[in-house]
């Protein structure tokens, strides 16, 4: 390695959970039995699950050691494109753990949960203000769940209009979840290619939009990190044929306080609180994927709705046009507490400044890296930029190789092989919480890898070396699945 950039520290071994412990140990206290035993009919009883018995120390060592094999935002730079891996403030964890939130039962009578209802109501208003939309539902549990809710709203709208439609337009730059979410509503995706500039062209939409098409699912800024400049014209084409515009708001972090989603013709947009609003991803969730809609679509939003009546809040379920309930209770309230804390800490100017610096950081990396890496679309970008491995191809070094080599330099790799429209894509989203010196360290590492690709390609192709495990056999894992120990 050319520079002392990374870490090659202490890597611990740790067996599987059930290879630890002894029967009869325990790692948790039970309260004393202060009521008489009341044996259940033995016919109904099983033997109880075969869990290993561990002491509290066994438990703590096991999971602490496992945690050291992970890389999080708190560990270092995590430029995973499309995922907005910004810093997750510590105060959020304090707020969500407050007893009045964490211990609240979801079916408390309204008079006994005014604080929780007020928080949901205010967060809905804040998200409406940020997007420019009129009404918000915090029911959806994640981005794809928000997409599904949004598609169901569009489906319900067409149903109410008296004519259900069969198709939905999805550009080739869309997130993979988009077609799957649309399919759950019975819609057939119609793919549309983006133009040579990496953005959608109105003529391409005009050519496919008809009265059998429910609308369009568009990500703006798109997955190439480019703002769709023709979005208003495209929305007008879709609206003229009675369709609706669904926006995937996964990339909202580029445009807070800058773009008005209603002004660009969006009818429904989902947000990812676990991206834009700084709630932690937790190694794959829980997230929260609220949807924001225009006034005329509000009747279709999921139930229950939080309603403010004077200075009192309550839940309403009697909404005949609603798409129905999306989850067991009221969505991921614990995640909402964190997003609310974020918005109230940042304020209007702070959110706009976050978007400005996210865009600055992405453009800075784009300029610094484009001498060494092929830039798929050399245009000013928003919050992320997409390179490819074209310049490394002559040395038979791929995007995957370079991603793995970045780990040896102590960085989490960018998103790779997405978006699909760029062959060998390297999608970099730095976010606003990274300082210039962290970006510069990343640039140094990327340039070092580009140099290694030219001079010692085997080093890159055999990476990573300094991780807990090296490249894993994913083919056998899928062919002969071992999912349970």
């Amino acid at each position: 390695m050319n520079a002392p950039l990374g870490t090659t520290g202490l890597i611990l071994d740790e067996p599987l959970l059930w290879e630890r412990g002894r029967p009869g140990r325990r790692g948790a206290c039970l309260p004393p039995a202060d009521v008489p035993p009341s044996p259940l009919d033995p016919e109904l009883c099983g033997d109880g699950p075969d869990f290993p018995d561990l002491s509290e120390v066994d438990l703590v060592r096991h999971f602490t050691r496992l945690s050291t094999w992970n890389y999080g935002v708190d560990t270092g730079f995590y430029p995973l494109g499309s995922c907005t891996m910004k810093y997750n403030p510590k105060t959020h964890e304090r707020q969500a753990a407050l007893k009045g939130f964490a211990a609240a039962h979801p079916l408390l009578p309204a008079s006994l949960c005014q604080g929780a209802l007020q928080l949901i109501w205010e967060l809905e208003r804040d998200l409406a203000a940020i997007t420019g939309m009129d009404a918000v539902s915090l029911q959806p549990a994640a981005g794809a769940h928000g997409e599904l809710a949004g598609m169901l709203v569009i489906h319900a709208h067409h149903q109410h209009q008296g004519h259900q439609r069969a198709k939905i337009i999805i550009p080739d730059t869309a997130h993979g979840t988009n077609p799957a979410s649309a399919a759950l509503c019975g819609y057939r995706p119609v793919a549309v290619a983006s133009g040579p500039e990496g953005v959608l062209e109105p003529a391409a939409i005009e050519a496919v939009m008809d009265e059998e098409t429910a609308g369009i699912m568009v990500t703006n800024p798109n997955t190439l990190g480019l703002f769709e400049p023709h979005i208003r014209e495209i929305a007008a084409i879709v609206h003229a044929k009675g369709g609706l515009v669904y926006a995937d708001g996964a990339n909202l972090n580029a445009v807070m306080g800058i773009v008005d989603m209603a002004a660009i013709g969006v009818d429904v947009i989902h947000l990812n609180l676990h991206k834009t609003f700084a709630t932690p991803h937790g190694g794959g969730g829980p997230g929260s994927g609220p949807i924001c809609v225009r006034r005329q679509l509000e009747p279709y939003l999921p139930v229950p709705r939080v309603v403010k009546d004077g200075d009192q809040y309550h839940l309403e379920t009697d909404r005949p046009l609603s798409i129905g309930r999306m989850g067991s209770f009221h969505g991921h309230f614990g995640v909402m507490v964190k997003a609310y804390s974020y918005i109230r800490s940042m304020g209007a100017d702070g959110l706009r400044r976050a978007s400005e610096l996210a865009v600055l950081n992405a453009n800075y990396l784009k300029e610094k890296l484009k001498q060494d890496f092929h830039l798929a679309y050399d245009r000013p970008c928003m919050h992320e930029c997409v390179f490819s491995d074209r310049r490394q191809a002559p040395f038979k070094v791929t995007t995957l190789d370079m991603a793995k080599r970045l780990m040896d330099y102590g960085f989490h790799p960018p998103t790779i092989y997405f978006p699909l429209v760029v062959h060998g894509a390297i999608m970099i989203e730095p976010t606003e919480t990274e300082s210039k010196e962290d970006l510069d360290r990343f640039v140094t590492a990327m340039r070092a890898i580009a140099e290694e690709a030219r001079t010692e390609p085997e080093t890159v192709k055999s990476a990573p070396r300094y991780t807990k495990v090296r490249r894993l056999d994913e083919v056998t894992a899928a062919r002969k699945p071992c999912l349970v120990g």
């Binding site: 959970l17 412990g21 140990r25 790692g27 948790a28 039970l30 009341s38 259940l40 099983g46 699950p49 869990f51 496992l66 094999w69 890389y71 935002v73 995973l80 407050l98 009045g100 939130f101 979801p106 408390l108 006994l112 949960c113 804040d126 420019g132 549990a141 997409e147 993979g176 799957a180 759950l184 019975g186 995706p189 703002f227 979005i231 008005d260 937790g282 190694g283 969730g285 829980p286 309930r325 067991s328 209770f329 614990g334 304020g347 209007a348 100017d349 959110l351 706009r352 976050a354 400005e356 600055l360 300029e367 928003m382 793995k404 780990m407 495990v469 090296r470 490249r471 899928a478 999912l483």
Partner: protein
Amino acid sequence: MRYLPHTPEEIQEMLAVVGAESLDQLFFPIPPACRRQSALELPAPLSEWALDARMDALAARTAVAPQAKVFLGAGSYDHFIPAAVDALAGRSEFLTAYTPYQPEISQGTLQAIYEYQTLACRLMGTEVATASHYDGATALAEALLMAIRKTGHRRVAVSRLVHPHYRQVAATYLHPAGYEIVELPYRPDGTTDLSTVEAEPDLAAVAIQSPNFFGCIEDLAAGAAAAKGVGALLVAGFTEALAYGLLKSPASQGAEIVAGEGQSLGLPRSFGGPGLGMLGTRQAHVRSLPGRLVGKTVDQEGRQGFVLTLATREQHIRRERATSNICTNNSHCALRAVMYMAALGGTGFRELAVLNHDKAAYLKQALAAAGHRVPFTRPIFNEFVVDFGTGFEAVHRRLQDAGIVAGLPLEADYPELAGCYLLCATETASRQDLDLLVKEVSR
């Protein structure tokens, strides 16, 4: 702002590299007509300390123990959570990582989820379990869609004793694509009436929850036989995962798919979410499963390691033909669950389940002894229905004002049960609490 590291000088240096004169100029690709005309209208930003004060004030306006005595279950249960679970789950290496797409630097999450899948299987009796779904309701809806894919049939029969919210979510998921849900009635003893199943054509699934919404333990083996008789799969649901510390596991009773809520496994109630959707089935059905899976494999040097696997079922590969649209799931909740299951161990988990049953049985007997009718005779786990009579509403409200929630009124979801309430008692309720409740509702 303490989360934004840039100094004014650095901003100028970086703008110079980019070739822009101001931050505003970075946004020139956005046409003016797409721009906001004014600043966002949001409340003024709060310091860390002012935020604490605001959140303390909001949190103070919900009724929680010890000031309040809340005898509610109905899909969200009060259990003690060991401090070790909070401390370990709070480690930021777990908390601030993304989905483990890069396995070499995600082995902590991956091994933990593999361990979760394993313990979840041991609990449900299944051969495989997914890495997690959003919650019990969406897990059940996905299980029904899976049964539809598996059988090619287009209708599902769902017991009226499945949690009402879960049935509503199933309708949200199934109706737009044209699938039909028929309801199975219940019998006077508080369990599902399976007698209508054999007359239902084109059934993909028979869905039964046990313990059911009335707290009664269902005969899942009878449900499996009824389903099998019409070429359908038994989908067994649950809202209280702890029950399987005591009861026979659902898969051992013939359930082909098991789907339920794991909130009881170390997750705070958090006003209903995030929870943990648990979903398991037989190995033979694994390629029809929705949701993420972690598998064991080896690295190029032969060392044990873990990866996300069978991705060809998933949305980012199969797109509109995927088994589900799920992407981000509730991984961190599954992590808490495996920590909790391991903290209790098999021995502790069994004892805790027995204690829950004893507490609820004590309360049930004490209420019956005080003259309240218990309408359903089937054995229960930690919740049950009591008929306080139609005049009880005023008492319920009076107690509520005193911070006692004497159960969930059932009339809204079961109009025939006016005056009936669903009560729950877990290990967190002391005998004193239970005696107090009996005294208050019997005055």
